[in-house]
Symmetry: C3
Subunit: 393 residues, 3 copies
C-alpha cells in the first residue's frame, strides 16, 4: 500500500488533463494518446487506494461485465471479475468451448445478442498472429452498429485482456509497478529497462508482452533495450513505434542480441520467452489452411530453434551486472523457473525467489487498471463520480 498517496491532488491533476476515452475501447496502448494512458494509470491508483483504505465506490448499480476468453485463463479472468465487482457490475463469462467458431455474421449477431445490458466486454484472444486484434475490432464495429441503429441502448466498452499484438492491462500494471518502485513517473526518465527474451522449452508464447512493453515504456522517457536472439524480433512496425515514442519522450530505444550487454547497468529487467514472429505468422497460415502435419513440424522447429538459446537464462551472474547488482526483476507470470517448475527456463530459482513477492505485487495492479479502463471508457463523468463518492464518506 502506498501510504503517501494523496487522493485530492490525484483528482485535481486528472481534472487538468484532457483525455478522450469515453465511448471508446481500450485495445492497443499505441493507439492511445499519452493523456489517455496517464489518466488510466491515475484512476487505477485512486481506485487501488480507495480499495486498500476500505472505501466502497458506488459506480454502477446494474449491468454486466462480460469476459470472453478465447484461451484459458484464471488470473486475468478473476482480475476482470474483481474489477467488475468493485464497480458494481455482475461478471458473466462467455464460454468459448460451448460456442461455435465466430466469423462474419456470427460475430455481429452474437455481439449484439450478449450486449443488451452489458457495460463492458473484456476479451482475450492471443493465440494466433493476425487474429486477436482483428477479432476485437470486429466486436467493436458490431457494437458501433448496434448502438447507432438502436439495437442496444448503451455501448459497452471493449477491453483487450491480451491479444496477438498487445497486452495493455498487463503492461500498464507493469508500468504502475515501476512507477511506484521509483516513486514518480517523472523518475522513469533515463532509467534503463531491458525487455529480454529468455529460454523456454514451451511452444508458441505470445509476443504481446514484449511488444507492449517496448512500445509503452518508450513513451515515458525510459532507456528501453530490446534484447533477443536474431530471428526473435517483433514486427518492424512495432520496432518503429518504440523508436518513434522514444524520440518524442526523450528516451532511447535500442536492440541487441547480447544479454550481458543489455543487463549492464539496467534499472529494470524483464526476461521472458516468446515465439518468433515468423513462426507465429506461419502458424496462423497453416491453421487457416488446416495443415495439421505442417503445424506439428512447425512446433518441433520452434522448440528446436529455442533450444539453441538455452543459455538465455536470468541468473545471478546476469543480475550482478545490473545497476548496483539490484535491478528490479519483472515478470507477467507464470514464469518458467529453472530448478522449480522446469529443468531449464527463463530464470533461476534463486533470482526468482528474491523477487517473487514483487512479481505478485506487480500483478496486483491489474484489477485496478481494468476497473479504471471500464470507468473511463463507459462513463462520461468518471472523475466526478469518484469525487461524489469521496464527499459521501
Amino acid at each position: 500500500m502506498n501510504n503517501n498517496f494523496n487522493i485530492s491532488s490525484a483528482l485535481n491533476a486528472l481534472k487538468q488533463v484532457k483525455f478522450d476515452l469515453f465511448q471508446r475501447d481500450f485495445l492497443l496502448t499505441w493507439e492511445k494518446e499519452y493523456e489517455d494512458i496517464w489518466s488510466v494509470l491515475k484512476v487505477a491508483e485512486i481506485l487501488k487506494h480507495l480499495y486498500e483504505t476500505n472505501n466502497t465506490l458506488e459506480v454502477f448499480r446494474r449491468g454486466l461485465g462480460i469476459s470472453w476468453f478465447r484461451d484459458n485463463s484464471t488470473r486475468t479472468r478473476i482480475a476482470f471479475s474483481s474489477a467488475c465487482n468493485f464497480l458494481g457490475l455482475s461478471h458473466q463469462e462467455m464460454d468459448e468451448q460451448k460456442l461455435q467458431i465466430y466469423h462474419g455474421e456470427t460475430i455481429r449477431e452474437t455481439v449484439n445478442m450478449i450486449s443488451f445490458m452489458a457495460q463492458v466486454i473484456g476479451i482475450r484472444d492471443d493465440m494466433y498472429m493476425g487474429k486477436g486484434n482483428k477479432f476485437m475490432k470486429e466486436v467493436a464495429e458490431s457494437l458501433d452498429e448496434g448502438f447507432k441503429e438502436g439495437v442496444i441502448s448503451q455501448r459497452p466498452a471493449v477491453i483487450n485482456l491480451q491479444c496477438d499484438l498487445d497486452h495493455p492491462t498487463q503492461t500498464m500494471s507493469d508500468l504502475l509497478h515501476i512507477k511506484n518502485y521509483f516513486g514518480h513517473l517523472e523518475k522513469l526518465k533515463g532509467k534503463k529497462i531491458v525487455m529480454s527474451w529468455a529460454y523456454s522449452s514451451r511452444y508458441g508464447k505470445p509476443l504481446s508482452v514484449p511488444q507492449g512493453i517496448i512500445t509503452l515504456m518508450s513513451r515515458f522517457g525510459m532507456d528501453v533495450v530490446l534484447c533477443c536472439p536474431e530471428g526473435y524480433k517483433p514486427h518492424q512496425d512495432i520496432l518503429d513505434k518504440a523508436e518513434k515514442f522514444s524520440n518524442i519522450s526523450g528516451g532511447n530505444f535500442q536492440i541487441t542480441d547480447n544479454m550481458k550487454k543489455a543487463f549492464k547497468d539496467a534499472d529494470v529487467v524483464y526476461p521472458k520467452s516468446w515465439a518468433p514472429y515468423q513462426i507465429m505468422t506461419k502458424r496462423t497460415e497453416l491453421i487457416n489452411r488446416g495443415q495439421e502435419k505442417g503445424l506439428e513440424k512447425l512446433e518441433k522447429e520452434c522448440i528446436e530453434q529455442n533450444s539453441n538459446f538455452k543459455d538465455w537464462v536470468c541468473d545471478e551472474n546476469l543480475m550482478s551486472l545490473t545497476k548496483d547488482g539490484k535491478a528490479l526483476y519483472m515478470h507477467c507470470l507464470p514464469a518458467d523457473i529453472q530448478g522449480l517448475n522446469c529443468k531449464e527456463g527463463e530464470v533461476t530459482k534463486k533470482v526468482f525467489e528474491q523477487y517473487r513477492l514483487d512479481t505478485y505485487k506487480e500483478a496486483g495492479y491489474k484489477p485496478f487498471i481494468i476497473a479504471a479502463m471500464i470507468m473511463l471508457c463507459s462513463l462520461q463523468d468518471a472523475i466526478s463520480i469518484i469525487e461524489k463518492n469521496l464527499k459521501e464518506f
Copy 2:
C-alpha cells in the same frame, strides 16, 4: 427505443387487469390466460423503458436466479443473466455436464438442494420430444412439495427458456416486436402472419418456435397461417389450440403447404426450419431404448427428407408477394443464411441483410420478457414495487 411510451398509463392499465401469476410458473403460453400474457408484455415494456431511460429498479436485494441449460446456449443464458442482474438477483448456472442424469428422486432432491435461496429457476430442455416440458413440471412439483413441507422458505418460479413444446420467452419477445412494429396490440387484428417452414441441412431443430408462434399469435386476432410441407405439421393438439384461440380472438388459422400462397399479402413472415414431429418422437424413443444405429439412420433420413424441400427458401421473389412487398421478416436467430453461413438455407443473404437489424431488435425484448416473468411470478406486489421505484426517482 419507444419514445412515446407512457409509463403512468401502462401502470394504470395494469392495475385494471386481473392476472394470476404469483407463485406460479411460466411454462407454456397456452396454459395461461390472456390477461397473464398481456400483463407480462406490459411489464416487459415498462422494464425496457426504465432501462433505456437509465432508471434502476430496486426489486430484489438478494437471491439467486438459477439457469439450468440442458442444451448449450449463449444468447438465452446471457438474456437470463441480464434479467437477473436488472432485478438484483445473482445468476448462478447449473452445469449439466458436471451432473448426473436426472430422474425421479434425483430431480426432487437436486431441485430442493439448489433452491434454498433461489427466486427463479430458468430451464432450457428442448432436445427431446416428450421430455422438456415433463422435466420442467417435475422440477415445479418438487418445488411445490419442498415449499409446502417447509424445506424451502420461498417458492422459486420456474421459467421455460425453451422446451420441446413451447418457447414462451422467444415468442413473447416476437409478439412485442410485432406490436411495436404496428403500434398497438389492437392493430394486430386481421394482420396476416406466416409461420413457414424453410429449408435447412441441419438435423433436429426443435418445434418449439413454430408451435409457440401459432398458438400465441392466434390469441391476438391475427390471421395466422402455418405453412409447411406435408409431414412437418406439429401435433394435432397444437393445431387444435391455434384453431380454438383464433375462434376466441376473432382471428383466423389456416394451414397450407404452398409457400407462395402463404406469403401472398402477408404482413409478417417467420420462415424457419424445424424437424418433423414424427421424427423427433421416434428419436426420443430410440434414445430411450439406447439404439444408436437407429439414431444415425434416423438423422440421415431426416436430412434426406429435408432435402426434398430445398426450394423452401425465403427469397426476394417470395418477399415481393407480401403486403406491398415489404412484410416484416422475423427470425429467432441464428438463421441459416444462404450464401453467408450455408450454401442452401432458410433465407437468402439479400433478404436477411435487409431485416438483420430488425431481428436483433426482436431479440432485444427477451431480457425484459424474462425479467417481467420473474417479477410477476415471484412477487405478489410487482406493480406497486415498480410504482414505488418511480416515485423515488
Copy 3:
C-alpha cells in the same frame, strides 16, 4: 422455520462467549475450540432466521467469494453461492478443469493472483487421502504470506467445503438439524447417535463425513457409536479425538461391528457408506506413482470387499430397534436408496421415503453455516454488524 427463535437472546448469548475466528480459516472442527463451533452454530441460526423472516443483511458491499472445487459438486457449490449472495459477495468459480495441476510455487502464486479482492475461498478437495487438508493448508499459508508481505490487502478466509479428513459445513448442518430436532444443544447430552457404515456398490466414497460426525457429536455429550465392519475404521488418530472429546463433554464413544446392537435404542442413526482408510491411502500412493493398473485392481478389490457386507442396509427391521422405533434418520445426500436408484444400497426405499424431507431440511442449514463461517472468519465485528442491521429494520 423455527418460530420460537429469539434473535435478541441469541445475540446476547453470543456476546458472552469468547470465540477466536477472525482472520482464521475453518478447516477441521477438531482444531477449533468449543466456543468457536458454538458461535458458528448460533450465527448460522440467526442468519437462517433473518432469511426466513425476509430480512436482508448488509454485510459486504463488494468482494468475491471464490469456490474452488477440485471434485464436481452442484449442491455445495450452490450452497456456497447462496451464502455469498446473502452476505453481498459475488461468487466466482475457479474452474479446475481449465487449470494446470497445482503444486509448490503454483499454489502460492495462483492463490495470491486470485485473492486481490477475495473475502473468502471455499475449497472442496476430498478425493485423495492425505491431500485435501494439505492442499487447504498450503492455500492458507500462501494467503498468510501474501497478506503479511502486502501483496493482498485483506486476508480471505479459507473454508473447507469437504476434504479427505473432515466436512465441517456438512457436519455442523447435521448438528443444527439434530439440535432443532431435540430442541436445544443441552438436550443432546446422552442421546445416542449411530454413525454406521452401510453398503454401496460404488468405489471410493470419502471418509470425511463419518470422521467429522464422530469427532463433532462427541463434543456435545452425545452417546456416539461408530459402527462399521472390521477394516473400515477411520485412522486411530480420529478415533482418539472422538474418545477425548467424549471424555471432556461427558459423553461416550464406542465402536462396534454389529449394526443391530448399534441401532438398539438409538436416538439418531446416520447410515452411510465409505471406503476403508487403508484402501484410500493405498490409492493415493498408487496415484502418486502413476500406477494405473494397480488402481484398477484396487477399485475391484474395494468393491469386492464392500460386497461382503451387502446386508449392511438401513431397513425397517433395523429402524424398529431404535428408540421407540423412530430414531431420526440422517444422510448427507445423495444416498444409495435400495429399490430406487440402486439394486442394493445404504437404505431401503421405505425407510428413506419416511425421512426424505428431513434429509432435505438437514441440508438446508448448509448455506447458513457457510455464511456464518464467512462472517466470523473475515469480519472482526460480525456480531455488531448483525445488531446494527436489526436496528435498521
